[in-house]
Amino acid sequence: AQSVSQHNHHVILSEAASLELGCNYSYGGTVNLFWYVQYPGQHLQLLLKYFSGDPLVKGIKGFEAEFIKSKFSFNLRKPSVQWSDTAEYFCAVMRGNTGFQKLVFGTGTRLLVSP
């Protein structure tokens, strides 16, 4: 079965530190990749997505992610975090690009940024 692994469950950083959150998936075929963010008390919102093309994807709020096919990874990065980035981050994978495919989520990473 397809699975998505987020190895860091909790991350604590100081403001201005660099961030990298890991995401690995197990499916070997064509994939569509997503990062969602859930700020405290708010709904999940899409941070960025990868469908095809340039493997370096830029999203909102200065986030980016790199798709490395050989490593089955889609890690999320931000050069300098802010206190307002405190949230839970979910990686998600959708298999293939035709027909209906389910979105499979990782278990999430809670990020706490201290001022």
């Binding site: 987020q6 469950h9 999940l44 209906f100 389910k102 990782g106």
Partner: protein, 117 residues
Amino acid sequence: DVKVTQSSRYLVKRTGEKVFLECVQDMDHENMFWYRQDPGLGLRLIYFSYDVKMKEKGDIPEGYSVSREKKERFSLILESASTNQTSMYLCASSLAGGEVYSNQPQHFGDGTRLSIL
């Protein structure tokens, strides 16, 4: 902007009760989903629907059923609530994408935090 509205933010029910969670989206999306979110487990798909009156089981459908009588509304039903169904429930919707593209992002509601006593 897509709006997915869940009828309640917080709900408290008793074991054995029949519980209805309602979700409405305003963007004419074909696909709708119900997830539950638990600490350390992420989001797990309960049921989804890709058309009116159509429904498919997700990964954890046991103890739940759904109803989609209208395109904009997708209801989750706990037939006989149990304490292990205490959780955060999230509704989402997305465009169908059709045969060519299925990779449409899902849009989420604010969630319903359900407590079963």
